[in-house]
C-alpha cells in the first residue's frame, strides 16, 4: 500500500489533483450529499434524535473522565471471559504485537475486516514486509487494496471510484469479464473470491466499534458480514481498538447503535451488530488496546472531545471541502473534519495544513451524533499552529487550495446557481463568528454574483 502521509504533499496540492476531473468531482460531491440526505431523513424520523445525541455526548463525557477506570474494568472482565489483552503504547508496538501473535501460530496469511486503527498504524505494510499476506475483506477496502490505494473514506472506502474503475480492477485481479460494470456481477465476483479466503485463513483481524467495560465484550458492526465470516472461521481472532472505544455498560449500546448507522448511511442499524464476549471452543481471541497519541489528546483540554468520535463519517459527508477535495487529499488515514483534528495531535508539523482545509461552516458539528465541537476545534488548532509558527505557509497554501476547490467548477460561476449551491454546501455559515473568511459579512445576497467572484472579493481572512 502506498504511503498516504507524504511530507511533500498538502491538502491544497492534492485537492487540485483531485479537481483535475471536474465531472468526477461533481459526481463525488453529489454522491456524498445523497448519503448526507439519507442521514437527515433517518434522523428526522426520530423525534428524540437531539436528546439521543445529547445522551450519547454525555455518556462519552463520563467515559473521558473515567477512561482509566473503565479500561481497567474492561481488561479484568475480558480476561475472565478468556480473552487475551495486549496494550500498545504506539503504532509500532501495535504492529509488533499483531505479528508476534501470528508468528506464535505459524500464520502467514490473514483476513482483515475494516479497522481504521490498522490504517493509522500502517499495519498492512508492516505485515507484508514481515512476510504476512493480508487480505482486506470489506468490499470497498478490497477494491482499494488491489489498486494499492488507501481508503478515501472511513465508512465508504472506495467512494472516490466509479464502477468502471472497479470493473477494470477486477478484470485485472479476478479476471472478470472486461467491460462488465454491473455492480451485482462485480460484487458476486468479490463474494466468491473472498469466500475462499475466509475458508482458508487461520487468523482474522477485526476492528472494534464499542468495548463494554461492564461485561468485557466488544461489538463489531458491518453490513457485509465480513467481520463475522472472518472471526468465526478463524482459529485466532485479533481485535484492535483505540482505547477510546470503551463505553460503560451494555445498555449504552442502545444509544450508540441507534445513532451510528443512521448517522453513517441513513440505515436504521447496520445489518450485523456482533457482540464478542468469549472465544468459541478452541479459538483464541486477542484484544490489542492502543494509545498512539490518544492519552496526549486526552490531556489537551481543547481537543479531548475528538476522542468521543464513533467514526460514523457524517462529518465527512456534510463537509463541502471534503466532498470537493476527496479523502486522499487529507494525506492521513482518517480524512475529513475529524481527521483534521486527530492528525495534528500526532504530528503538528506534518499536518499543519489540515485544520485549514475547512470553511468552518459548522455543518460537521451539527450532524455529529456525539456532539463533538468539530469546527471549534479546527479553529483552535489554527491558533495553536499559528503560535507554533507553522501557520503562515499552511494557511496560505490551504486557503489557495480551497479557493480552487470550492470556486473552480464552472457551475458555481453560473448566475443564479451560486446562492443555491451556497445554501446547500454551507448551511450553517451565516452566523458563524469563527469563520475567518466570512467574519462580519453577510451571506452573498445577489444571485447574479458567482461564488467565485464573491469569493475573490471576500477572501481576506481578517480576524486571526
Amino acid at each position: 500500500m502506498s504511503d498516504n502521509a507524504n511530507n511533500t504533499t498538502t491538502h491544497a496540492a492534492l485537492s487540485k489533483k483531485f479537481n483535475a476531473d471536474e465531472p468526477r468531482v461533481d459526481w463525488h460531491d453529489e454522491t456524498l450529499w445523497f448519503v448526507r440526505s439519507k442521514r437527515d431523513k433517518a434522523a428526522n424520523a426520530l423525534p428524540e434524535w437531539e436528546e439521543l445525541r445529547e445522551t450519547a455526548s454525555q455518556i462519552k463525557n463520563n467515559v473521558l473522565s473515567n477512561m482509566s477506570g473503565y479500561l481497567q474494568q474492561f481488561e479484568e472482565k475480558a480476561r475472565q471471559n478468556g480473552m487475551v489483552i495486549h496494550w500498545a503504547p504506539d503504532a509500532k508496538a501495535h504492529n509488533e504485537i499483531v505479528l508476534s501473535i501470528l508468528k506464535r501460530h505459524g500464520v502467514d496469511r490473514m483476513v482483515k475486516s475494516k479497522s481504521m486503527l490498522t490504517e493509522e498504524c500502517h499495519l498492512n505494510q508492516y505485515l507484508q514486509q514481515n512476510g504476512v499476506e493480508v487480505i482486506d475483506t470489506d468490499l470497498g477496502e478490497r477494491i482499494v487494496q488491489m489498486r494499492q490505494e488507501p481508503p478515501s473514506h472511513i465508512v465508504l472506502p472506495a467512494i472516490h471510484l466509479k464502477k468502471q474503475d472497479v470493473s477494470d480492477t477486477f478484470h485485472e485481479h479476478l479476471h472478470t469479464e472486461k467491460g462488465n460494470n454491473d455492480p451485482q456481477f462485480l460484487t458476486n465476483a468479490a463474494r466468491l473470491h473472498l469466500r475462499e479466503k475466509f475458508l482458508t485463513r487461520k487468523a482474522a483481524l477485526t476492528g472494534v466499534n464499542f468495548a463494554i467495560a461492564e461485561t468485557g465484550e466488544f461489538v463489531v458492526c458491518t453490513n457485509e458480514g465480513n467481520a463475522d465470516m472472518g472471526a468465526h472461521l478463524a482459529d485466532v481472532h485479533i481485535a484492535c481498538m483505540g482505547f477510546e472505544k470503551i463505553i460503560p455498560q451494555r445498555k449504552h449500546l442502545g444509544v450508540f447503535l441507534r445513532l451510528l448507522a443512521r448517522s453513517a448511511t441513513g440505515q436504521p442499524v447496520t445489518t450485523y451488530s456482533s457482540h464478542f464476549k468469549k472465544p468459541r471452543q478452541g479459538q483464541e481471541v486477542h484484544i490489542v488496546i492502543v494509545d498512539n497519541g490518544r492519552s496526549t489528546q486526552l490531556g489537551r483540554k481543547d481537543f479531548r472531545n475528538s476522542l468521543k468520535c464513533i467514526r460514523c463519517a457524517a462529518c465527512f459527508n456534510t463537509c463541502p471541502v471534503y466532498r470537493r477535495s476527496g479523502g486522499h487529499s487529507y494525506h492521513t488515514a482518517i480524512a475529513g473534519p475529524i481527521g483534521s483534528i486527530l492528525a495534528p495531535n500526532l504530528d503538528i508539523k506534518q499536518y499543519a495544513d489540515l485544520p485549514f482545509a475547512s470553511t468552518l461552516c459548522g455543518s460537521c458539528s451539527n450532524v455529529c451524533p456525539v456532539k463533538i465541537d468539530i469546527h471549534d476545534q479546527l479553529y483552535k488548532w489554527r491558533q495553536v499552529i499559528g503560535k507554533q509558527g507553522y501557520a503562515g505557509k499552511a494557511k496560505a497554501i490551504s486557503m489557495q487550495g480551497m479557493a480552487f476547490t470550492l470556486a473552480h467548477p464552472s457551475m458555481y460561476k453560473v448566475a443564479g446557481k451560486a446562492g443555491r449551491w451556497f445554501l446547500r454546501n454551507t448551511p450553517f455559515l451565516l452566523n458563524n463568528k469563527l469563520n475567518p473568511w466570512y467574519h462580519q459579512r453577510e451571506m452573498p445576497a445577489s444571485p447574479k454574483e458567482s461564488f467565485a467572484d464573491w469569493y475573490k472579493k471576500n477572501r481576506q481572512p481578517n480576524n486571526e
Partner: protein, 208 residues
C-alpha cells in the same frame, strides 16, 4: 508518550501490561463527570408488528405473518425449491432440515443453502433479530448460509433498541448478534447489492 518510565513496557511491547498507558490516561483525563441515565424515550410508533414488517421490507428482507409451523414449512419449501442443504437447531423443522447438534466444525457448514433459526427477540424500529450462541451454537451459521430464515413470536418484538437492551442487559453468552436483513454492500458506486459475504436473503415469519 513523555512519561519517564524505566521499569515497564514501552520498548518490550508484546503483551506488556497496561500500567504505563493507564497511568498516562489517568494523569490526563478530565475531572469526574457523572454518568447520565438513558431517558425513557417513547417509541415513535404504536404498532410494533406493522413497524417491524415495514422496516424489514424496506431493507430487503421478506416477512410473513403465520399461524402454524406447517404454514412455515410450506412457505420454506415454496421459497427454496432447489435448496440442497437446509440446517436448523430446532426440532420442529426436522422434516425439512438436518437437525444439528453443536460440535461440528464451522467449516463443515460452508455449503448450507438455508439456515432456520428461532430468535428470542426482535426490534421493530430496525427489524433486527437477536440471537446468541446459546440458541445457535455454531456461530458462523447465520453468516455462511446462502439464506437465513427466522421465526419470531409476535410478543417477542420490542419497539426500540433501548427496550431490547432492557431485556438482554444481563444475559450471559459467548457470542451474540443483531441481524437486520440480508448482508449487503453499496461499495460499488453506491449501488445497493444484497448478498455481500453473508446471506443473500432473509425471511422472517412472525407467529401470531
Amino acid at each position: 508518550m513523555s512519561i519517564a518510565n524505566n521499569t515497564t513496557g514501552l520498548q518490550s511491547p508484546p503483551s506488556g501490561d497496561g500500567s504505563a498507558i493507564l497511568q498516562a490516561i489517568k494523569a490526563n483525563q478530565p475531572a469526574p463527570v457523572a454518568l447520565v441515565e438513558i431517558p425513557a424515550f417513547t417509541p415513535f410508533f404504536d404498532d410494533v408488528v406493522a413497524k417491524y414488517m415495514e422496516v424489514l421490507t424496506a431493507i430487503g428482507g421478506d416477512v410473513y405473518l403465520v399461524n402454524s409451523n406447517e404454514e412455515i414449512i410450506e412457505k420454506i419449501k415454496l421459497q427454496f425449491p432447489g435448496a440442497g442443504r437446509i440446517v436448523s437447531f430446532c426440532a420442529e423443522f426436522a422434516g425439512i432440515a438436518e437437525e444439528k447438534t453443536p460440535g461440528s466444525s464451522a467449516h463443515s457448514y460452508e455449503n448450507v443453502d438455508v439456515f432456520i433459526m428461532k430468535p428470542a427477540l426482535a426490534v421493530a424500529e430496525n427489524s433486527a433479530v437477536w440471537i446468541t450462541d446459546n440458541d445457535v451454537p455454531v456461530r458462523v451459521l447465520p453468516f455462511i448460509a446462502q439464506s437465513v430464515v427466522a421465526i419470531i413470536r409476535r410478543q417477542d418484538i420490542v419497539a426500540t433498541m433501548h427496550h431490547a437492551y432492557d431485556k438482554i442487559a444481563d444475559v450471559d453468552y459467548g457470542f451474540a448478534t443483531f441481524i437486520a436483513g440480508p448482508s449487503k454492500t453499496a461499495d460499488i458506486e453506491q449501488s445497493l447489492v444484497l448478498g455481500a459475504h453473508g446471506p443473500k436473503t432473509m425471511t422472517v415469519f412472525i407467529q401470531q
